[in-house]
C-alpha cells in the first residue's frame, strides 16, 4: 500500500459520482442576490431553516453532503493513522499518541457515516443521489502531518461544527426527533476532534514557530475553500452559519473565528463577482432567432 493516497483514487461503489471544487464553481447559477434588478424572486434569507419553501429538499441535500463528508473524514483520519511513522513529531513522523487519536477519530467518523446513512434513509435520500465533492479529502490530506492536522482537524472538523449546528437547529425547529438527536451527538464528537487538532498542533509545533505559522496559514487557505463560495457565513445570504459558541468550546479563539468569518465574506464577494462576470458574458451572447 502506498504511503500517500491520491484523491482521484478514493474508492466508491458505482452509485457515487464525484466532482471537485473547480467543477462546482463553474456552475454560474446562484441563490444569492448578485443583482437586485434580476433577483426579485430570491428569498430574503438563504439560511437553511424549515420555513424555506425547499426546506426538506435542502436538508436532504445537505445531509447527503454530510454523509460523503464523513466518508472522506473517515478516510482522512485512517490515512493519517497509516501514512506517518510513530516518532517524536519531527519530519514525517507523528507521536504515537497522535496516531492513536487518529484511529479513534476513524471510529467516530465511521459511526458518523452510519448515522448519516440512516438519517438519509429517514429523509428519503438514496446513497449517491447527489454528486460527491471530494474537496474535503483533497484539501485535508497534505503530505505534511502538521498541515494535515490543520486541514482535517481544524478546518474540516470546524466546518462540520458549523454544519451540524445548522442541522441540529433545523431538526429542532422542524420537530424532527431523529435529526436533532443525531446531530447533537455528532456535534459533540466534532468539538472533540477540533480540540484534538488544536492541542496536537500546539504541542507538535511547540519549538517550531515557523512550522506552526505555516500550518495556520494553510488552515486559512483550507477554511476559505470550505466556505464554498460563501455557502457558509454569518450573514443570512449563506445557507450555513458560523457556529461561534461551539467553535470556542473546541479551542478556536475569538480572533480566529473573526478571521474565518471575514474569509467567508470574501469568498461570498468573490463568488458574486464571478457570477456577475458570467451573467455579463451570457447577456453579451446573441439571442437565437
Amino acid at each position: 500500500m502506498r504511503q500517500f493516497f491520491p484523491v482521484d483514487d478514493l474508492a466508491r461503489d458505482e452509485r457515487f459520482v464525484q466532482t471537485n471544487m473547480a467543477e462546482r464553481m463553474k456552475d454560474a447559477r446562484t441563490t444569492v442576490d448578485v443583482d437586485a434588478a434580476t433577483a426579485k424572486s430570491r428569498a430574503s434569507s438563504n439560511r437553511l431553516t424549515p420555513d424555506r419553501h425547499d426546506a426538506s429538499d435542502g436538508a436532504r441535500s445537505l445531509m447527503h453532503g454530510i454523509m460523503v463528508g464523513e466518508i472522506q473524514a473517515l478516510e482522512g483520519a485512517g490515512r493519517t493513522a497509516h501514512d506517518f511513522e510513530a516518532g517524536d513529531g519531527s519530519g514525517d513522523t507523528i507521536p504515537f499518541e497522535l496516531k492513536l487519536d487518529m484511529a479513534r477519530q476513524a471510529w467516530d467518523e465511521a459511526r458518523h457515516v452510519e448515522i448519516s446513512v440512516k438519517l438519509s434513509d429517514w429523509m428519503g435520500t438514496e446513497l449517491g443521489q447527489f454528486a460527491e465533492n471530494t474537496v474535503l479529502f483533497e484539501a485535508a490530506c497534505s503530505n505534511d502531518p502538521i498541515l494535515r492536522l490543520a486541514g482535517v482537524n481544524r478546518a474540516l472538523e470546524g466546518l462540520a461544527i458549523d454544519v451540524f449546528t445548522q442541522m441540529k437547529e433545523f431538526g429542532n425547529l422542524a420537530g424532527d426527533p431523529y435529526l436533532e438527536f443525531c446531530e447533537d451527538w455528532m456535534l459533540a464528537d466534532e468539538v472533540t476532534h477540533v480540540k484534538m487538532g488544536s492541542d496536537w498542533l500546539r504541542k507538535v509545533t511547540e519549538n517550531d514557530p515557523d512550522r506552526r505559522k505555516k500550518a495556520l496559514e494553510f488552515q486559512q487557505v483550507v477554511d476559505k475553500l470550505f466556505s464554498f463560495g460563501g455557502a457558509r457565513g454569518e450573514t443570512d445570504e449563506s445557507p450555513i452559519g458560523l457556529a461561534r459558541r461551539f467553535r470556542e468550546l473546541a479551542g478556536f479563539s475569538d480572533d480566529e473565528v473573526d478571521t474565518i468569518s471575514m474569509m467567508d465574506q470574501e469568498a461570498l464577494d468573490e463568488r458574486k463577482e464571478a457570477i456577475r462576470a458570467f451573467h455579463a458574458q451570457a447577456d453579451a451572447q446573441p439571442t437565437p432567432a
Binding site: M1, R2, F5, D9, L10, A11, R12, D13, I71, L74, E75, A77, G78, R79, T80, A81, H82, D83, A86, F96, K99, L100, M102, A103, R104, A106, W107, E109, A110, R111, V113, E114, V117, L127, F137
Partner: protein, 223 residues
C-alpha cells in the same frame, strides 16, 4: 450487638476462597512477558495502520465502516501494550516494539500489499483469516499459561482484547462470506490465505516460534 453468638464469631478465613483455583506458577517471567507484549504492540500497530490506510481503498461502504471501527479497536490494544511495557521494566517501550522476527515483518508487508479497489477479498483474508486467528491463538495461549496472580494485569488486558478479537474476527469473516460468491472468489481467497499462511508459519506466529507453545508430537514415543 448484644448477641453473644455474633460476638464470638471469628473473622478468620482462608486467604483463597474454595472456588479460587488460581495458581502461582506461570510459564512466563517478566522478561519473556515484556518480549511478547512488545511483539503484540508492534503487530497491533501494524494492523491498525493497515486498516486505517485501507479505508480509502475499499469501495464497499460496509467494509469501509468496519475498517474504521476495527482500526480503533487495534489502536486501543496497541495503547494497552504500550502502557504495559514500562510496568514490565521496559522504560523505553519503543525498544521492544518490534516484530518477532524477519518473517513476521515480511508477513505484514505481504498482508498490506493489496491496495487496488477490487482486492477487498484479499485485504479481508489477510486480516480476518490469517492475522486475527493468530492473535486469538497467541493471546489465548498467553492468558492460559500466565500466572494469574503475578501477572494478573496482563491476563486482564488479554481478556478485554480477546473479546474485541473475537468480535472483529466474526465481523470480518461474515463480510468475507458475503463477498465470496463465485468459484473465482473462492480461489482468490484460498490462494491469498495460503500465501500469507506460509509466511506466518515461517514466522512461527505473532511472537515467533512458541506463540502458542511447543507442539506435542504423539507419533514419537508412543501413547
Amino acid at each position: 450487638m448484644g448477641n453473644s453468638e455474633t460476638e464470638t464469631q471469628t473473622t478468620v478465613r482462608a486467604p483463597f476462597t474454595p472456588w479460587d483455583r488460581r495458581e502461582l506458577p506461570g510459564l512466563f517471567d517478566v522478561e519473556e512477558t515484556a518480549r511478547r507484549v512488545g511483539n503484540y504492540k508492534w503487530t497491533e500497530m501494524k494492523l491498525f495502520e493497515a486498516l486505517g490506510g485501507w479505508i480509502a481503498t475499499v469501495p464497499e461502504l460496509d467494509v469501509k465502516m468496519r475498517f474504521g471501527t476495527h482500526c480503533y479497536h487495534h489502536s486501543w490494544h496497541a495503547d494497552i501494550w504500550h502502557k504495559r511495557l514500562p510496568e514490565l521494566r521496559e522504560m523505553k517501550p519503543e525498544r521492544l516494539t518490534a516484530p518477532a522476527n524477519e518473517a513476521m515483518e515480511r508477513f505484514i508487508e505481504a498482508m498490506t500489499e493489496p491496495e487496488a479497489a477490487e482486492l477487498t477479498i484479499e485485504k479481508l483474508v489477510g486480516v480476518y483469516r490469517v492475522l486475527i486467528p493468530r492473535f486469538i491463538g497467541a493471546y489465548t495461549y498467553h492468558r492460559n499459561n500466565a500466572s494469574e496472580i503475578t501477572d494478573a494485569p496482563t491476563v486482564r488486558f488479554i481478556n478485554f482484547i480477546l473479546q474485541d478479537e473475537y468480535d472483529d474476527w466474526r465481523d470480518g469473516e461474515m463480510l468475507l462470506q458475503s463477498l465470496i460468491t463465485t468459484p473465482d472468489h473462492v480461489r482468490r481467497a484460498a490462494e491469498h490465505q495460503a500465501k500469507l499462511e506460509a509466511i506466518m508459519v515461517e514466522a512461527g506466529g505473532i511472537t515467533g516460534p512458541g506463540s502458542i507453545g511447543t507442539s506435542v508430537s504423539t507419533t514419537e514415543g508412543g501413547a
